[in-house]
Symmetry: C2
Subunit: 609 residues, 2 copies
């Protein structure tokens, strides 16, 4: 099964084109400026000494690399600006200027502790290299220029020698995975086996037992190293690390046709989607270690669901789709796109969430006022930058390259996994989508060059119709896709996906959402905010059988949805005898990803029934 | 208004007599043995050196003191055993043997760091002295022997010199309050003004601004020292510290007729009872600093509600009742007795809870398995001892002296605040209660020597009847009490308090309990356990309008109560479209204080409706 690069796909007008334009015009500039202001670019330029009032950080280089990667994608889709191209060149100049003779590059170690490079498993050196590799691949894809690849190749050769050949580093595999998936991207870009071999070495070594847990603070479990990856069947540990290594595992399973790896990937996916995933596609159930916990443990207010984890999960799902086109993979990726990922960026494009909980209670922020070292609470207001600011450039590069998720194909079949207004030509195939999706469910496709077209029918869609070249086609989806035999030449297919609001329930084993209801509309999870509905949403019970009202185009082209509900009436004091006084009310709901764009206010997804 | 000591009151058969017998036969021996096994008595005996595999702790002396205090109370009510009397003498011998020439006594500092006594505000030296003072008062009350009072008097003189006169200590007021209320007890026992003056000095100085916050870990807020106590209007900081200083404030307000202190106590009480108290009477909303948080922040699973805090609250409430006999004070004390305090001790008398949450989810205990330093989670199984084991001896001394809460009187009126089968004679008055309360609501009182009898009608009681000397009396309670003029000589009053199960709602501002219902019966809060009802109680919705069934005597003489409910049916996976499948079910509920006596199992107080 072949992937189709976003390079080959032009998003025309519509939802994602607008998002890419926002990333190009606002987001990346804002991120870049914040990274300049917070000295990340100073550190990268090695402009630091002990007298300064800030210190470099082991993973700051990755922020610079992701800015470069996102810039390349935008430039490649004519969404970029001149400063981005100049920045890429500056970054390569700086990298080259400060790269060690043996190829090593890490501004933190070079500046603060050069004698101890490759000694601390948790210090993100290989994680940073991974992001440099992805930036290099992006630059080559877009500019057709191998300069950055040549620079990272020297560093990779050093890593091959130190880690793979000499075993002379202080640890065997990275504490924070990322380089594995990056090496596989570089392998597929260049065809050089050494990259594949190093990625496979890291995948095979992790959890093999050869590896001591070199971390003082984290368990082997935390970084997916408690057993060989091929043996693993549950999502575990730090959610971003997990998602990144699962992504590499899926690619390696495909490239090496490694059945054991594929089996592990499939079991882990099943564990996540059936036991450990929020309705938004968010993963990572607790901020304690930013980690997965146990089955059915899905607190709403306490949800961690880091933006980067949802992005990493979507990267994994794209690889799984390429391994095997099951509708559930693309369904879940779509759940991430429109909910757990987009919630990470504000509508103005310049403010972000690192955590994306399913409930916000601003009034509880002051609860630890007698504790001098209070535990971290979820942010209730979006931030322009974070001390650990991995998410903003991650969401920028992801949206800029969203086209990568649309299509795969083999000799005869073209798979359409996602619906976005776009035009594409690749490998002798042409496909054009005319649609307002996700604003509505009508999609007109023009396809040529494939013998068969496989269209994903989203799991949320109960009723759909297909008209092929003017004739109504009756067919049922198999494993999430309907298959249409195509004529030689141009084929016109009109797909209509019925999009109506629906109530969703949660498995009763989930304490926090049992006996509750959440509203969904097409691929969107909805939520209610205090700014529309007043505070104390916990005192509201929705009535799923009652009629609802759609307020068209109220939310950036999407409807606001007003549902019937009941609210407990308040009273003085804390406790009172029944009967409980409840009054009928309506609750206005908006797409979840749009929450916290109108000031600090309460927010809730799951409602009592 | 005069207090009536438990010494003057003999509990006859019934609920509390049985509890005292259990304390005397099982509990105190178990606690003592645990404290021996954990080296608390070795440390007290100064049998320690650096080579040993354990270290003394700054507050261990208080554990020994509370064991002595509880032993005295039991001995005083013929509930004691010979070993307890011997232990009291041994303890005094040891104290005398290791007391410094200047009166100082603290095994931790004497053994580990004598040069730094009185330098660390958080190291509980004065807290320990407070408990020694209470033990001394108890010993004098029971044995009529001033030996322990003489020993602590020398220590108090040192404290007066160092703290009150020379200001030569490293801090001005104790980090953990307790000595203030103890000094006031000693003042009322001996009449010596110096004890009253020292207590008043500590109360006046706390938060006066003269005092630097000497604590590196805790804020002034944490120990009620951010503003003068007379200015305080909200419960704040560490809940046990708070309850102990409020107790001292209420006594000092009475002794010195200090209106400003009384006003602070009343405002703080109103804040707790109307904003910050669990249905069980538990206080201390978070384990973070074991502290109060903010209004309406009452998480059920996250409730901290330390047993000692509920006991401290009951001590405060007894003082408030003496200041002014408002029914709400005794109502709230009763709520503590039968729920948040008794829940701290197992039915077998030898196992304890330090925290008393309103929900237990044992299945979530493993959630932090990828975190090497996981946050503390509530214990799901009762323990024989804790590293910090203040609660077990505290509950022992409290139950042994529960009679203290029953009565107050002035020249003409005898107030009956609580109903317990008992006989008492004091200050020319005699009163006998024949009752099975709290097993039922029928109470026969025989009273002589008072002109008026004031009977508390519990706030939970809707219907009651009174027959005085054979004649039905019609009267309505005023501020929680009905007042009956008494004849000279013997008066017989038959009070009947109707006791029926009732559903209670919570203020909708409380996120975790809004739109929910809790079952109460008389003074008891009820809960449901997984062992009776299966797991996933969060998926249950109770039907408060439906009939209930009483299972008489099922729970140590109290009824089990079975209510009608609905339960969400389970399904594969995490999320599913509505309609939700619910099945009718029944939920068997037991008194909250009896939870976790049948193995580790889920528990819930507040149910969806």
């Amino acid at each position: 099964m072949q992937a189709v690069s976003f390079k080959k796909i032009d998003l025309t007008d519509g939802f994602w084109r607008e998002k890419q334009t926002l990333i190009g015009k606002v987001t990346l500039r804002s991120i870049y400026q914040q990274f300049v202001d917070t000295h990340r670019f100073d550190a990268f330029a090695h402009q630091w000494n002990e007298k300064m009032d800030w210190r470099p950080h082991p993973y700051w280089d990755s922020d610079v690399a992701k800015v470069m990667e996102a810039a390349c994608y935008l430039l490649g889709k004519n969404q970029g600006e001149a400063w981005m191209a100049q920045l890429c060149v500056q970054i390569m100049d700086t990298f080259e200027a400060h790269q060690w003779p043996d190829g090593y590059f890490n501004s933190y170690y070079t500046l603060t502790d050069p004698a101890h490079r490759f000694t601390n498993r948790n210090d993100h050196e290989l994680y940073c290299l991974g992001h440099w590799i992805e930036a290099a691949v992006a630059y080559e894809q877009i500019a057709g220029d191998k300069r950055m690849i040549c620079l990272v190749d020297r560093y990779i050769d050093l890593v091959i020698r130190v880690f793979q050949n000499e075993h002379s580093a202080g640890f065997l595999t990275p504490g924070h995975e990322e380089i594995e998936l990056a090496l596989l991207r570089l392998y597929e870009c260049t065809g050089k086996e050494k990259y594949l071999d190093l990625a496979a070495y890291f995948v095979d070594t992790r959890g093999s037992g050869a590896e001591p847990n070199t971390s003082p603070r984290r368990t082997a479990f935390f970084c997916q190293a408690d057993e060989p990856l091929r043996m693993q069947r549950q999502a575990k540990g730090h959610s971003v690390r997990a998602a990144y290594i699962y992504t590499a595992m899926a690619d390696l399973a495909r490239i090496r046709t490694d059945g054991a790896l594929q089996q592990a990937c499939e079991a882990i996916f099943d564990n996540i989607v059936n036991r450990r995933m929020y309705l938004t596609g968010g993963i990572g159930q607790t901020q304690q270690g930013e980690s997965f916990t146990i089955d059915y443990d899905l607190e709403n207010a306490g949800a961690y669901t880091e933006t980067c984890a949802a992005i990493g999960f979507a990267l994994f799902l794209r690889r799984m789709t390429r391994l095997q086109p099951r509708g559930i993979y693309a369904d879940t990726a779509e759940r991430c796109f429109y909910n757990g990922i987009l919630s990470g960026i504000s509508l103005d494009g310049a403010h972000f969430f690192y955590e994306n909980p399913l409930e916000l209670h601003p009034k509880l922020q002051g609860r630890y006022l007698s504790v001098t070292a209070p535990p971290r609470q979820p942010k209730t207001v979006r931030q322009a930058v974070f001390p650990t600011s991995c998410c903003p450039p991650n969401i920028a590069r992801m949206i800029a390259s969203i086209g990568d998720w649309l299509y795969t194909h083999d000799e005869r079949t073209l798979y359409v996994h996602h619906y976005m207004a776009s035009e594409a030509a690749f490998d002798g195939m042409r496909i054009c989508q005319k649609t307002q999706y996700p604003f509505d469910g009508a999609i007109e496709l023009c396809v040529a060059g494939a013998a068969e077209l496989a269209l994903r029918i989203p799991g949320w869609c109960d009723a759909f119709s297909i008209v092929q070249n003017g004739e109504r086609v009756k067919c049922a989806p198999a494993d999430g896709y309907v298959r249409l035999a195509l004529d030689a030449g141009e084929n016109q297919i009109i797909l209509n996906l019925q999009m109506v609001p629906r109530w969703t329930q949660c498995n009763p084993s989930v304490c926090d959402s049992a006996m509750k209801a959440a509203l969904e509309y097409g691929p969107f999870v909805y939520c209610a905010e205090g700014v529309d509905n007043g505070e104390n949403l916990s005192a509201v019970r929705v009535l799923p059988d009652a009629p609802i009202q759609m307020e068209k185009n109220a939310c950036c082209g999407l409807p606001a949805i007003t549902v019937q509900a009941q609210r407990q009436k308040t009273f003085d004091g804390l406790y009172r005898r029944f009967p409980m006084a409840v009054e009928p009310c309506t609750i206005r709901m908006i797409p979840y990803y749009q929450f916290a764009n109108r000031g600090e206010t309460e927010m809730m997804v799951w409602f009592k029934t």
